[in-house]
């Protein structure tokens, strides 16, 4: 029973996030976690909402929960990288971003955060490569978004 209920909750929460209604989203994520505490997706998505609310330390903790349940959860690594970079912890953020982009080479945010971390740790040449990769992916996403818009 809870599986479909959790999926529904996550979907609704995602809509709230898109509408920048983070508090409402958080209530649904909390509920989803209560129903399925061993579902890494719930923890990872709640981390995403907490990043938007600038609760970066809590977001890292949620990502760690997700990663304890599934060490190969690409989104959790990506969000962890993002949250850590926002609090200036560039070295662990770089490690997380590297893991995220290894697990999912099409993670535009992951590459971008990796670029920021590399830049901040003085590796400008490597940063440029990460930024280029991020830009490629971002442009592809943008082209797709434009096509969808025209279709609509």
């Amino acid at each position: 029973m809870p599986v479909s209920e959790v999926s529904r909750l996550l979907k609704r929460a995602e809509q709230y996030v898109k509408q920048t209604k983070y508090k409402e989203a958080l209530v649904l994520y909390d509920h989803a976690i209560r129903l399925e505490p061993r579902n890494p997706e719930c923890w990872s998505q709640r981390a995403g909402a907490k990043i938007e609310m600038e609760r970066f330390t809590e977001a890292v903790a949620d990502c760690d929960q997700a990663l304890a349940l599934n060490p190969n959860h690409a989104d959790a690594w990506s969000r962890k990288a993002l949250a850590l970079s926002q609090v200036g912890q560039y070295a662990p953020a770089l490690a997380a971003a590297t893991r995220a982009t290894t697990l999912n080479a099409n993670d535009a945010v992951g590459w971008y955060v990796k670029g920021i971390c590399l830049e901040e740790t003085g590796k400008s040449d490597e940063a440029e490569i990460a930024y280029a990769k991020s830009l490629e992916l971002e442009i592809l996403l943008d082209i797709k978004a434009e096509k969808d818009k025209v279709r609509r």
């Binding site: 971008y112 955060v113 830009l135 442009i139 943008d142």
Partner: protein, 332 residues
């Protein structure tokens, strides 16, 4: 700066520099419905206490950074002009609206005389103010575009590939705009509007060296542009259109742009420098308006004047129609 999103070091520095130079605050906002080029809502143009840069929610990396760089540069230009006491915007009043709409009407009559399929009178009447507004919007925006882009190109090297993509995208969008109105609006205005964008594209293609602006070759959708110079690409795009006239007028406008935009784009940032860029933009606007014989359509005024004019626009339109058509307007 108020933001919870990741930003590259140069962008963070640039925002901090903008805030310091103008003694103001910049807030960044992500909105799903924001236009691709983003929006700047600034304290110099609106009655606000902080500046807001809004960009599309799907811009997550360097595309976002470029939009921020562009809007921040524009903010600096406006802010520097305001701080040195000379910030004015292109506004309008009842007289200037009448002048503009009357001119559009006279040109429309000339066009209509040659047309087999005439435009219904009510559509023709509606079109007069729409054309006026269209040119007001475009001339308020277009001259600043090459100013801002040239400055970013010379000061923020790491954004050049992103800039190329955005320029291609902007160019295509501006070229496609008004296409559905091609047969409706007077040819002269279609051509002039397209010419402005053509001149901007060509100016940027010449000013932003092609070798440094090579497209992002790893993107399959952009492969066709590989080994093609930006200049060649943009020229080809324009000469293959049905409206070759736009190119002829556009070449003249390009000459005007080149004359007015002879600027040291890489100069060290200072209030004086950005104030000088504002003057460059104003002079270019005036030159383009003179070329298009639209000098009397608009007036340089304080931003509050434009805000009031926007409120009064429907009454200006009504009064102008009354003056042009007299009592006929009530009957139709």
């Amino acid at each position: 700066m108020k933001t919870n999103m990741p930003l590259t070091k140069p962008i963070r520095r640039f925002i901090a520099e903008t805030e310091r130079m103008l003694d103001t605050e910049v807030t960044l906002l992500r909105k799903p419905e924001a236009p691709p080029g983003g929006t700047l809502i600034d304290i110099y143009s609106y009655n606000l206490d902080k500046n807001i840069i809004i960009f599309p929610a799907n811009y997550i990396g360097l595309l976002k950074d470029f939009v921020i760089a562009k809007q921040c540069t524009h903010l600096l230009v406006k802010g520097a002009a305001a701080k040195t006491g000379g910030y004015r915007v292109l506004s309008y009043n009842a007289d200037s609206v009448y002048t503009g709409m009357r001119q559009v009407y006279l040109d429309a009559l000339k066009d209509e005389a040659k047309k087999e399929k005439k435009l219904p009178v009510n559509k023709l009447i509606d079109m007069l103010f729409i054309m006026f507004r269209q040119f007001h919007e475009d001339i308020n925006d277009l001259p600043w575009n090459p100013v801002v882009n040239a400055r970013i190109y010379h000061r923020m090297e790491q954004l050049r590939k992103t800039q190329l993509y955005i320029l291609l995208k902007d160019g295509k969008q501006d070229m496609d705009e008004m296409m559905d109105m091609m047969e409706i609006i007077p040819r002269r205005y279609f051509v002039l509007d397209k010419s402005m964008f053509y001149a901007r594209d060509l100016y940027l293609a010449k000013t932003l060296p092609a070798d440094r602006l090579m497209p992002v070759v790893n993107i399959p959708q952009m492969k066709k542009f590989d080994h093609l110079e930006v200049k060649e690409m943009l020229t080809t795009r324009w000469t293959h259109t049905a409206w070759y006239q736009s190119k002829v007028f556009g070449d003249n406008m390009l000459t005007i742009m080149e004359k007015h935009l002879a600027v040291d784009w890489g100069a060290e940032p200072s209030l004086e420098y950005y104030a000088s860029l504002y003057k460059v933009g104003v002079n270019l606007t005036n030159a383009l308006l003179a070329y298009m014989t639209m000098k009397d359509w608009f007036i340089w005024e304080k931003p509050q004047h434009l805000l009031a004019a926007e409120q009064a626009a429907p009454s200006y339109e009504k009064a102008a129609l009354k003056k042009i058509f007299g009592d006929l307007i009530e009957e139709s």
